[in-house]
Symmetry: C2
């Protein structure tokens, strides 16, 4: 009985696993192709062929092209939440938090930029409701960075910088990585991440503020 039960369980579980894996492979492939050619320039047939199915076979797994796009974007946004925002929330010191945000976001992009790049480039392909959903989450992310910059300002480490403009600029710097970074290039991923993180911190920290306060005897951080 137990043996049979286990067998059945394994069978069911195995089947479910296989189904989940197939679905994941489809999303991954679709993300890669959307990333390379753009959402509108990619046909359902392109995706089906990439995963070794016909168009009709693909429709067994997906509801439609737009749902596929929305699912990929949702996945990317989840990634951002889990790998960047949540870890950064646990960092109390604003400067360290900023460094966490930039480094983690940049690393995600150097590792696999497909979904994260689609997330920002293909918003027009979504249905209005879905678009509003994604834009809202992106907005929250920018606000989170802006709040961190505002905290740095309150500490006196940042002077005369608009937190919102600062946040957008840093995001632009990070996202652009996906356009020029090549895994087989001169620098490896970690070096790029470190370089960009240093630039980001340097961009917002006020040079004179550190010097003046240090000269006046005030300790930093």
């Amino acid at each position: 009985m137990t043996v049979l039960d286990n067998a059945v369980l394994r069978a069911v579980q195995g089947s479910a696993d296989r189904d989940r894996d197939r679905r994941a492979e489809i999303y991954r492939s679709a993300a890669r192709i959307f990333h390379r050619k753009g959402y509108h320039a990619t046909s359902i047939n392109d995706i089906a062929a990439a995963v070794g199915l016909t168009k009709a076979g693909l429709y067994y797994y997906i509801k439609g092209k737009q749902d596929l796009l929305f699912a990929i974007m949702g996945f990317a946004m989840d990634q951002l939440d889990e790998q960047v925002i949540e870890p950064a929330r646990r960092v109390e010191d604003p400067q360290a938090r900023l460094e966490t945000i930039v480094a983690r976001h940049a690393r995600l992009i150097t590792q696999d930029s497909s979904a994260l790049t689609i997330l920002v480039n293909e918003l027009e392909g979504l249905l209005p409701d879905d678009r509003a959903d994604i834009i809202g989450r992106q907005r929250d992310y920018v606000d989170f960075i802006a709040d961190t910059l505002a905290a740095l300002r309150d500490e006196g480490k940042v002077l005369g910088l608009d937190p919102t403009v600062g946040a957008f600029s840093l995001v632009g710097m990070i996202l652009w990585i996906s356009r020029w970074y090549r895994a087989d290039g001169r620098l490896d991923g970690d070096e790029v991440v470190a370089e960009v993180t240093r630039m980001a911190v340097s961009a917002v920290l006020n040079r004179d503020a550190g010097r003046t306060e240090a000269a006046a005897g005030g300790a930093d951080s």
Copy 2:
């Protein structure tokens, strides 16, 4: 005779002017729509309707959709050459040159981002030869910025920054403006340009460079 000649001249000239204006209007409209909806999501009919023509009528002025895209990108690249690169080339001091580049590029985007944004987002829509052309010119631009950063490094104003990564990062920061800047927003164009320029300079200038080497080391990182 003179009167008649003038009249004829005016008529001919006026006709040529009208044709040129119409063409310019078509490119402007197309750029705006490509910018808003994306190249692939825009139909020739959309553009024709926007300029008050039928599709067939539009084809009197253009050779095809891809040529239209290439023309817009070429125009944008010309703008960049004339308004950013050429003026900056005439600035000898590297830091002032960097500021010129960032400020002028940013201003172009706050003024009208359509063509410049298409320039970087719709490369996939071009024919291979056209794409190679545009990518080459973009590459030259990034190299120009990287050379400027290298010159700053030689002056000792920049330490430990990879010029290429620095150039790409600054470009990303600038280009991203078109995604968040709204002419009717809280800050006007000039304020945004100034803010971004300040951030860009701060991002690459080494904070410790201004101080003596001995004093450097304890303040940050």
